[in-house]
Structure formats: structure tokens, C-alpha cells
Symmetry: C2
Subunit: 185 residues, 2 copies
């Protein structure tokens, strides 16, 4: 039946709704019964698919990582040093434009010393980007590439926080251009 292509299956509905709720109200503060209700499925189905609530979170996080990887890859695969820098600066915008809820959830988990903190540490996926950026600053003969990399990463962490607050991401383009302008010669 053609509707297969248009109707989300129930497992995906659960994942979608759970991500939405977890990222907005927090994992602990979201009950499985609410997820079931909003996803219009029986509560038991959640446990059939994901074993337990934590399993649901795990699958959400794994899916999220997979979805942001292509954005990271565009930086990793860039050859020109200056373009590496400019692309890194656009990363927060692009990731949040596409995967806002996931990224919000990820920050949420990171900001708490929960048992999940180590399981779902997304920092490791950013290491290649960090190294690439460091190399770019070296290539461009910055006086202290390591410090400049740290500096820019710190700035982009702050930018990410701001972007998550925004309803209209376009409002952020001015500051993103401003940041980029500081690295253009």
C-alpha cells in the first residue's frame, strides 16, 4: 500500500514524540505514559520496542549522532584552511537548523551529572573537527593555534546556546557573519 511511504510506523512515532518531549521537558520529567498518549500508541508498545525507558533514550541519541555526522564531515573533508574555519563557524547553525531537538537534549544531558553523561558524550565526535581546526590555524600561521582553537570552540559553544533559545534562526546570521569576518583577511 502506498500509505507505507507516508505514514510513519509506530516505532518512529514513538522516537519522534519522545525526542520532542525529552528535549523540552527533560528525560526524567517525561513519563512513558505521556509519550504513549501523544504518539497515539499503547504504552506497552514502548517497552516492546525499546525494552525500557533508557533504551528509548539510547536509540534517540544514536539516531541523532548519525544525523549530525554529515555536517561534521563537510568540515573534515574541506581542504582549504580558511574555509575550514568559516565552515566550523557555521556548524552550530546548520546542526541546530536540522537537529535542534536532538542537540538540545544532548546539552541537557551534558549539563547534568547523570549516569548518561558518559554514555552519551558527544564531545568525542567533535574531536576530529577540533583537530582539523587546529591544523587550519597552524597552516595559516596563527601565533598560538592551540589557544585560538580553544577560543573559537568556546565561542561556538556559546553560540550554540544562543541558537537553541532562538525561535527564528535567521536572527543569528548577523552574528555568525560577524564571527566569520574576524577570520577573513
Amino acid at each position: 500500500l502506498i500509505t507505507h511511504f507516508f505514514t510513519m510506523n509506530k516505532k518512529d512515532s514513538i522516537l519522534k514524540i519522545a525526542l520532542e518531549l525529552f528535549s523540552n521537558q527533560g528525560y526524567e520529567n517525561t513519563s512513558t505514559s505521556l509519550i504513549a498518549k501523544k504518539a497515539a500508541v499503547s504504552e506497552g508498545l514502548i517497552f516492546r520496542h525499546f525494552t525500557n525507558k533508557e533504551g528509548l533514550l539510547t536509540e534517540i541519541m544514536n539516531e541523532g549522532i548519525i544525523k549530525i555526522q554529515p555536517f561534521l564531515d563537510t568540515v573534515i573533508n574541506e581542504k582549504d584552511a580558511e574555509k575550514v574555519i568559516l565552515k566550523v563557524i557555521e556548524l552550530p547553525y546548520k546542526i541546530i537548523l536540522s537537529e535542534k531537538e536532538f542537540w538540545k537534549l544532548q546539552i541537557n544531558i551534558k549539563s547534568q551529572n547523570s549516569k548518561f553523561k558518559k554514555d552519551f558524550d558527544t564531545n568525542k565526535y567533535l574531536i576530529p573537527v577540533y583537530l582539523k581546526l587546529n591544523q587550519a590555524f597552524s597552516d595559516l600561521k596563527f601565533e598560538n593555534p592551540e589557544l585560538e582553537t580553544q577560543y573559537l570552540f568556546t565561542l561556538l559553544n556559546g553560540l550554540t546556546l544562543s541558537l537553541i533559545e532562538l525561535e527564528n534562526l535567521n536572527d543569528a546570521k548577523v552574528i555568525i557573519n560577524y564571527i566569520q569576518s574576524k577570520y577573513k583577511k
Copy 2:
């Protein structure tokens, strides 16, 4: 009795322990029974003093704001424009050195769309600092003072996140100096 001066009263014990637990494990994830146990008081005392769990959080937040206000004031009262900038850059360090747990809790709450988000919005206390910084950049003839203010605030938000992760705050001095050096002529 002299011990009054040395022994914390029970209400303050509760506040201290609750702040510690809330900031490390999250508000939702901390039970009143655990707070009582760690503070070595009966659980009922929490409700006698604070009505309910939310009342406890409210008092913690109000106390925290009062404690950070002096740090903000040192910026507000600074006359020299360049010193305003340098002092603002040191704010995250100073606040976290003194009130790490409170500031961590505050970020935690901010990162969730909880009902508390609006009640405990600390942004409003930073507005005078923002305006002061904006004025400083104007005085120093920056091309775009408003954007530069936004830029620096974004950077400092990112710095704050990093500081919260650190066990040894001294490790951050290098990057703080580096940020400051960009604004020294």
C-alpha cells in the same frame, strides 16, 4: 550558646545540601528524602520551612542571585571603558569560583523548558552589565559596539560552560588572559 556561630542551623543545612544535590543531579532527579538524609534532618522539616519542594528551589535561587550581585556591581561601578571590558571577561571565572553550584543549577534550569524557566530567569540581572559593556565599546569607538557586545557575551557564555566542567579553575586562566589580550591595545 557559642555553637550558634559555628553550627549551621537546620534550615541553612537544608539549603546547602539541596543546592549541592540539585546542581549535580538536577532538581527533578533529587528526592526530598535524600536531601533530608544528607542534611541530617527529618524530611518533614523541609516542608515546614519551605512549604514544598518548589519553595526550596525558589529560596535557593533567590539566595544565589543575592550572592552574585556584588560581582556584577564591580563591573557596573567601573569608570574606565577598557577596564570594564577586562572585568567583564573575568566575571564567569569569579562567579564560578565563588558560586559554582548555584550557577550550574541556573544553567541547568535554563536549558529546560520547565515551568521554572521564567520564574528564575537570571538574564535580567545581566542586562546592566550588557549595557555597560555596550557603552564601553562605544566609548572606545568600536565600529559596531552592539555586535561586539553580543559577540563577547556569546563567548563568555561558552566560557562559563567550560568553567563549570573544570575541576581546577586555574586551568582556565590561560584562555581568559588570551581573551583579554584581544581587547588590550
